[in-house]
Symmetry: C3
Subunit: 183 residues, 3 copies
């Protein structure tokens, strides 16, 4: 009996230590989605295809070319199709709607406020996001701050990756959405 | 004793099942508010009465008329009175402050980021909202992502309804705010 | 044994009452940070030093001078250094990135949507904020709606104070960030 207790002891010490210095690892998502969205910026010549438009810019910039200084100060409004795979022409399962703004003068970073809006057999409801997007990083984490419908009251983290881009007109983001609070 | 256990068994099975497949229905708000807010858009001739102004627009649009293509790309900043009933002239109990942006080219949808700010005998503090507003739908759900004062750390859902509108200058929204996380 | 139970009784009654009528006071932050951030608005002549720029304004206003009527309708995008003390020239520990918009016609109030972004030995990750900032008040509370990295899934309240300002070009904010939900 005594020897069994001694054997177990290191195990319990380990547990206590891991609880006192928790790593992020132990948290497992209660729900997870991987989705793609596709942004085509209006450049003066693509009115039909464009899914976003520059609507604000600092002094001296115009609204059909992203501003100099790493686009600092540009705000774009978007309504991008969401697809299950990385193909722009796949059937959309929803729309990514909201805005992004470029907010650094010496590199590319953005700040995002937007929603995923679903009204299909796949999903119903919406997921609301805000966060900083240092877009030169391979992956960037933003916050899922709420949801409605199928995502009622959910919270979590979305990991964004730039999956593809063409010049400054098209880019595709992969969103790995991990909910840690499900209802 | 044995027969009693058998009678209870189906009841426990039921509990387990309802927990494994939870519907949205069982959640009851811990607090609920119904409020109205009133938006009068500046059109170049109503400086005194206007409570909001268009401040951003895509290329080719101006700031005193909502843009074509379903106002896609317009951002409006607002400071709207909040009332307890649907009368614009009732004593305001607070202000709805923030922004909305129109974000679809082929129908009317908006994205909202705003706060209800209270400093009265009715309420003290603020409620913070973000979310997608597909405004042609009779009701739309957005997220309550936080609050301060009387609404310290609250989260929930606000169901918006367009209660009235006059052309493209005035609209009134009914907000049915349901908190599911109260502190 | 019986007398001991009687002694304990009032203590339990107290617990029940304090739970039924909770005041805001009992909540203690699970984590707290005090940080400063510094905003220098672009005025047409300070391109090198400026950390923010006016990018949207109502009809008739320009982008190098804050608009009249208490700047109603101005949106500024910012990338401000965050410091541990109130010295603009201290080594930054991160960047405050996002936007503010002025949203009242008869006093100074703003609406904020931004993130603190950290990538240093002090902190890793981000904190996401939204809320109303009635900036003539000595202190203003906004919501911490999420976080990533060291601040994974955190929620709380940030109390802002205008620590200093110079005309309409420089201001420094003190942010007392109190997390009430830590993970």
């Amino acid at each position: 009996m005594a020897s069994k207790a001694l054997v177990l002891l290191p195990f319990f010490i380990l547990l206590v230590v891991s609880s006192a210095y928790p790593s992020k690892k132990p948290y497992k998502p209660c729900k997870q989605l991987v989705l793609y969205f596709h942004d085509i910026i209006y450049n003066g010549n693509n009115k039909e295809n464009a899914t976003s438009a520059i609507v604000a810019a600092p002094q001296g910039a115009n609204l059909t070319v992203l501003a100099g200084q790493f686009h600092f100060g540009n705000i774009a409004v978007f309504d991008d199709p969401i697809t299950l795979d990385n193909n722009l022409h796949s059937k959309p399962v929803g729309r990514a709607q909201g805005m992004y703004l470029y907010d650094t003068k010496n590199t590319y970073t953005a700040w995002l406020g937007f929603s995923f809006v679903f009204n299909s057999s796949d999903y119903q409801g919406s997921i609301n996001f805000i966060g900083a997007d240092p877009l030169m990083n391979k992956t960037r984490d933003i916050s899922v701050v709420g949801g409605t419908g199928d995502f009622f009251m959910h919270r979590g983290i979305a990991t964004l990756m730039t999956d593809s881009f063409e010049g400054e007109v098209y880019f595709r983001l992969r969103a790995d959405i991990k909910f840690y609070e499900c209802w």
